[in-house]
């Protein structure tokens, strides 16, 4: 082993001198570190994930699949898809606009805007939901005005759920694009403009293709969060069954029913979310492996 002291020069036994890189550790240390990581990951991540799927088929595949004919579950799935279908494009547009402004221009308040974009990461989702309740609730001036004059309900209705979701998924796309766009600078855009391209042509043919993989990466993370958000949505939705309940909320409702069949339904829906997470993970890893150079240099998630 590499740790043994060097043999004296006169030794008859030929000592094999093993070169060890100065930045690596001895084998027992390496095994210990790897072991700790694997054990923690297994205990905290893999085991719960497996148990979700196991619990879902606890009473057999039939009851598990029966969940998806339950009107409440179906409504929750549709609502989740609807919310993601609105929130992700909204944040796509916002993310590109914000990243463009921050990366390509110098203006007063630029650094403040960067910090502001990160706000949803640091604010508790419950607070995120609560601020909308305080802002648009039926007894606030704004909420009362919207309700009375337009008949629009924000709180305890789908618009509120969408708004809360947009809030918590705000940073994902912008945060992916900003470092990459800053890194790329404005050289390509200037080249395109000097060749006679209009601003619109430059955006579609040069700027967007340059960030397309980072954009897809951001959309992926944004979507996963939009479909999985619980806290903010829980506060604002009022949990009206079949109306404002998304999949994560429905899971909790099922879980609290203490019927064996409801338990299975809870885990079946959870399995859907977990499956979504796994698919996201696979695509994300593939993107990172295939297009590492075209994603942002700094990883923050």
């Amino acid at each position: 082993m590499a740790d043994t002291p060097p043999a004296p020069a006169v030794s008859s036994r030929p000592e094999r001198i093993v070169f060890r890189s100065p930045v690596t550790e001895a084998r027992p240390v390496r095994l210990l570190l790897i072991g700790i990581s694997v054990a923690v990951l297994g205990l905290f991540l893999v085991l719960p994930l497996v148990s979700v799927f196991v619990q879902a088929v606890n009473l057999g595949l039939g009851p598990a699949l029966a969940t998806f004919s339950d009107p409440e579950a179906v409504s929750a799935i549709w609502l989740t898809l609807l919310v993601a279908a609105i929130a992700v494009p909204c944040n796509l547009v916002f993310g590109i606009a914000a990243a463009w402004a921050i990366a390509k221009y110098r203006f007063p308040g630029r650094t403040f805007l960067v910090s502001l974009i990160d706000l949803p990461f640091s604010v508790s989702p419950v607070v995120a939901g609560l601020v909308y309740v305080l802002l648009f609730g039926p007894f606030t001036p704004l909420g009362a005005w919207l309700l009375a004059d337009f008949g629009v309900r924000i709180i305890f209705a789908v618009p509120g759920v969408v708004m809360a979701t947009i809030f918590v998924t705000f940073p994902f796309i912008a945060r992916e694009l900003i470092p990459l766009m800053q890194d790329q600078g404005t050289g390509d855009e200037e080249a395109a403009l000097s060749l006679g391209a209009s601003g619109w042509q430059t955006f579609w043919r040069v700027t967007l293709p340059n960030v397309k993989w980072a954009l897809l990466y951001g959309v992926l993370l944004c979507n996963a969060r939009a479909m999985g958000e619980f806290g903010a949505v829980a506060v604002i939705s009022g949990k009206l069954r079949g109306e404002t309940v998304t999949v994560p909320l429905q899971i909790e409702l099922f879980y609290q029913e203490f019927r064996a069949l409801a338990q299975v339904s809870a885990f079946s829906l959870a399995a859907i979310l977990a499956g979504l997470a796994l698919v996201t993970l696979v695509i994300k890893s593939w993107l990172e492996w295939r297009y590492a150079d075209q994603l942002a240099a700094t990883r923050k998630h």
Binding site: G187, D188, E190, A191, A192, L193, S194, L195, G196, A197, S198, Q201, R205, V206, P209, N210, K212
Partner: protein, 347 residues
């Protein structure tokens, strides 16, 4: 296309990058903007391109005031130091980009665009590489693609911003010769920015020497090298040595000794003597500059020695034949063959 820069001033956040610069660029000439970093040469180039707008003053393309035209309307070919090739497009797509984005009414048919792009690829000697992507080419090849892309739009003026700045010395020399050939073949009015005086002297018809946002001198390479207008140009272009001298009785004095250099017309005052290290003759007798060797090193085919002159221990560099027997502390007397005198106590 003549380009005229008239009293252009440019400020960035009230910091002046260019002070009242005027310059006439003649149709078909290859002109170099030369200066140290921060001299405003790139700013001037970007102002001509329309990538910046002047704080005051105007830029004329021919007789037409282009100051308020956008970069698209000016129809200039711009080549960037960082190439700025579109990484998601093939070489052919890069070169055809400028033609493809034209409004339908003035866009050539697809077959014609392809033919022209391939023709330009031939011109820049990259035939057969049209399907490659930029990251599959070397730096020198990328810069040639960038030039072909700029030429594709049939620009009125070709502008190059330190085009060879990111390349190694060998490739730079090759591309320099090649750019001259392309220019002679196509006859575009070409302005290029460089901080490499060798490049500017070798390549350009005329040089614009800039410093701190001002033009110091405009002239052909011979003018600028042999007749520098001021101490900055003398010091910036080529090798130079300088010594503080006194002007008295129509000749130059150092430390109370005449050094055998006449100064007709100049009255009694301190001045700076400038000369080229290689442009000196060694003398045996008579009034001359004399000093002892303080350092010596081999530079190419000659030996460059540092001499300590007179009591002030001012140091100057001169070139000796490489087989000159001078060693440390050897006394050497010389006279510059050509020199310039600029008034003032210090450079």
């Amino acid at each position: 296309m003549d380009v005229r820069v008239a009293n252009v001033r440019k400020e960035f956040d009230r910091f002046p990058a260019l002070h009242e610069v005027s310059l006439d660029i003649r149709s078909g000439e290859l002109i170099a903007l030369l200066g140290p970093s921060g001299s405003g040469k790139t700013t001037l180039l970007r102002l001509i391109a329309g990538l910046e707008s002047p704080t005051s003053g105007a830029i004329y393309f021919g007789d037409e005031d282009a100051s308020h035209k956008s970069v698209q309307e000016r129809n200039v070919g711009f080549v960037f130091q960082s190439y700025a090739l579109f990484r998601n497009m093939t070489i052919l797509e890069n070169i055809s980009f400028g033609l493809k984005v034209r409004p339908r009414a003035i866009r050539p048919p697809a077959a014609e665009i392809r033919r022209r792009a391939l023709e330009l690829l031939d011109l820049v000697q990259l035939t057969g590489l049209e399907k490659r992507f930029p990251n599959q080419l070397s730096g020198g090849q990328r810069q040639r693609v960038a030039l072909a892309r700029a030429l594709a739009i049939e620009p009125r003026v070709l502008l190059l911003d330190e085009p060879f700045g990111a390349l190694d010395a060998q490739v730079r020399r090759e591309l320099r010769k090649w750019l001259r050939e392309i220019h002679d073949k196509t006859g575009h009015t070409t302005v290029f920015v460089t901080h490499d005086q060798e490049e500017a002297l070798e390549l350009a018809d005329r040089l614009v020497v800039m410093s701190q946002g001002r033009i110091e001198q405009v002239g052909n390479p011979d003018d600028v090298y042999d007749r520098p207008a001021n101490p900055f140009v003398f010091g910036f272009i080529g090798e130079s040595s300088t010594l503080p001298v006194e002007v008295s009785n129509g000749e130059l004095w150092i430390g109370g000794r005449a050094i055998g250099i006449p100064a007709p017309g100049a009255d009694s005052s301190p001045a700076q003597l400038y000369f080229r290290p290689h442009d000196v003759e060694l003398v045996e007798d008579g009034a001359a500059l004399a000093g002892v060797v303080a350092a010596s090193r081999r530079v190419g085919g000659t030996r460059r020695v540092e001499l300590e002159i007179g009591g002030q221990k001012d140091r100057v560099e001169i070139d000796l034949p490489f087989d000159h027997p001078a060693g440390m502390k050897t006394r050497i007397a010389f006279r510059p063959k050509r020199w310039r005198l600029f008034p003032g106590a210090t450079a």
